[in-house]
Symmetry: C2
Subunit: 139 residues, 2 copies
């Protein structure tokens, strides 16, 4: 073993949906949202709780969904929900902020997934318009 | 309390530097790197170990670095290293992959920071060229 860290769940996905999802930030952490309404997009980190077990967390290679050639790739080379730490990451569009609730577009988490962090999307740091990906990803 | 998750450290920042940093992925997780050499950019999630204490993790608002007006914003509205879960996120350029070691450009972690996840940067999901940010961020 190489060391561990402890995450606090700071919120939960209250309702899921690619077009509209609602995220509830627990009251204890609500003050940390001050100022997010100035951003168009956020990065949501969530805990893929349905994969939080030893079997799923020991998966190191998968055949990515939709790849017909059947060649395995490492979970660090794809967005597989089975991975050593079941952390999901989505860039979402911020539609509405009301008290401790965010309405967002583009979150692919399930209802009930704990939220572990919310970060503002900052174009000069996070947007790489000319990034390339391997050919297998575009099939 | 609202529930917790347990992170495994899967690697470590071996040498730091904005222009060149080296990340060592522990041998146990090395197979998960298969295929990453096809990507130009990666998203590195790391554990800001120097802020992993109750005091730093209870900070909810900060005066962002370089903001002269002195108005506090929530830690979910900035990239403050003091936050409920000390997770750092950097989009990096992948320079080299050698066995279990990645050489990257753009990682602002300190030497010794544990790595908690590595994800490929996928332009259609992660690049938002027209994202906007509040005025205070550009000062």
């Amino acid at each position: 073993m190489y060391g561990k860290g402890e995450l606090k769940f700071i919120g939960v996905v209250e309702s899921a949906g690619e077009n509209e999802a609602k995220v509830h930030i627990f009251p204890e952490f609500c003050d940390a949202l001050k100022g997010i309404d100035g951003f168009s997009h956020m990065i949501i980190l969530y805990w893929i709780h349905l994969r939080d077990n030893e079997k799923e967390r020991s998966v190191l290679q998968v055949i990515p969904r939709g790849r017909a050639n059947g060649v395995k790739v490492g979970v660090f080379a794809c967005r597989s929900p089975s991975r050593p730490n079941p952390i999901g990451l989505c860039v979402v569009k911020l539609m509405k902020v009301e008290d401790c609730r965010l309405t967002v577009k583009g979150l692919d988490a399930f209802e009930g997934s704990p939220i572990i962090d919310v970060k503002p999307y900052i174009q000069r740091r996070d947007a790489v318009p000319n990034a390339y990906t391997p050919e297998w990803l575009s099939h």
